[in-house]
């Protein structure tokens, strides 16, 4: 099966069959969207919560708000129907912790919250989630069944 890699601040869409993967998500969030009927899958790897907080925001794939919007658009272009699209989330961890709870270190949590907010705005239901913690995740979205495989070091493997 074809495996398509999604890098940091990047997104890709495919139609069955194939796997979308992103390796070693830390505080970034992987947003896996899937249309079960038309078998169209999309995966975004976002770094920051909001494009409106930043001047330099030309890369739409970098931010939760703009990336999710674009991802849905691209999926529709590939034959997805908006009303069948559901979402799964993974990542958003805090790899390093310091005493001070500065914004930069809480970025994982903020990325997760911003992703949820945008999905709610777009009426895309979240059907599963594996976020938070202090460890990295590799994820694989299967475009045949919409399963999201999550691999970690020391925290097991799961399918959501």
């Amino acid at each position: 099966m074809e495996i398509v890699k999604v890098g940091m601040a990047d997104f890709k869409v495919i139609k069955s069959t194939g796997i979308l993967t992103t390796l070693g998500l830390g505080s970034c969030v992987g947003i896996a969207l899937y249309d079960r009927i038309n078998k169209v899958a999309g995966l975004a790897h976002i770094m920051l919560p909001s494009s409106t907080e930043i001047k330099n925001n030309s890369n739409k794939a970098k931010f939760a708000d703009t990336a999710i919007q674009e991802l849905v658009k691209e999926m529709i272009l590939l034959g997805a129907n908006k009303k069948y699209i559901t979402a799964k989330l993974a990542g958003g961890s805090q790899m390093f912790s310091f005493d001070s709870n500065t914004d930069i270190l809480r970025i994982g949590e903020r990325n997760t919250l911003a992703s949820k907010k945008k999905l709610q705005e777009l009426d895309v239901p979240i059907v599963a989630e594996d976020t938070g913690g202090n460890y990295g995740r590799t994820i694989e979205l299967n475009s045949q069944d919409g399963n999201l495989l999550i691999k970690t070091i020391g925290h097991g493997v799961k399918n959501i």
């Binding site: 390796l23 070693g24 998500l25 770094m47 790899m95 590799t138």
Partner: protein, 204 residues
């Protein structure tokens, strides 16, 4: 304003030289600690697109030890010392004088590695500070063992606030018989880049 997408070769040389002097100090500190000869490779200045960050150390999913510090005061940014697991084990075996090699890092090892990171980073930034005349403070270390890509994403995200590229000043250390290899990354924030360069008379 320094255009990070268009750094000219003089600026790159300056950054490389900064890395050279800083990591020279750090290499000496490491050699003293383990009482072995430590080689240092010529530092690399790497300007990467975000999508390539995961692969900077080879395989994105290889487990590595990352020891991370915040720099503050007149220069803001981060320093990260990264070791592969085998190197981390070899280093702690050496530090504790163990003859029976272990194959897992325990709490004591992690604590020792944090301290090694601390000494290396401090000697690195001391020379940076002496060279530029800019004041610098280092936070306490925070240590994490995980996939290379997940660890490197932490400094990359900070660059995400300001541009489309990540700049790493990377130095590789090698112990004599190549049992330990480590990378030290200096990751200044963009405003601090300008300060460093103008304090050296390169721009401004």
């Amino acid at each position: 304003m320094v255009d990070m997408n268009n750094l000219n070769s003089i600026l790159l040389d300056v950054l490389k030289e900064l890395g050279n002097i800083g990591s020279g100090n750090a290499a000496t500190a490491l050699a003293t600690m383990i009482d072995k000869k430590v080689d240092m490779r010529v530092p690399q200045v790497k300007i990467l697109e975000f999508k390539d960050v995961g692969e900077i150390l080879g395989d994105s999913e290889t487990p590595v030890v990352g020891i991370y510090f915040k720099m503050s005061d007149e220069i803001e940014g981060n320093i990260m010392f990264v070791l592969d697991i085998d190197s981390a084990l070899n280093l702690t075996n050496m530090l504790f004088g163990r003859s029976n090699s272990k194959n897992e890092l325990d709490e004591m090892d992690m604590s020792a590695l944090s301290e090694v990171g601390n000494i290396l980073s401090a000697s690195y930034i001391n020379s940076l500070s002496a060279l530029t005349g800019l004041k610098l403070k280092l936070s306490v270390p925070s240590i994490c063992v995980d996939m290379a890509a997940a660890i490197l994403s932490v400094p990359a995200v900070q660059f995400g606030h300001i541009g489309e590229h990540v700049i790493f000043i990377e130095t590789q250390f090698e112990e004599d018989d190549r049992l330990i290899t480590g990378d030290l990354f200096l990751i200044p924030e963009v405003d601090s880049f300008e300060k460093i360069l103008s304090s050296l008379g390169v721009v401004g």
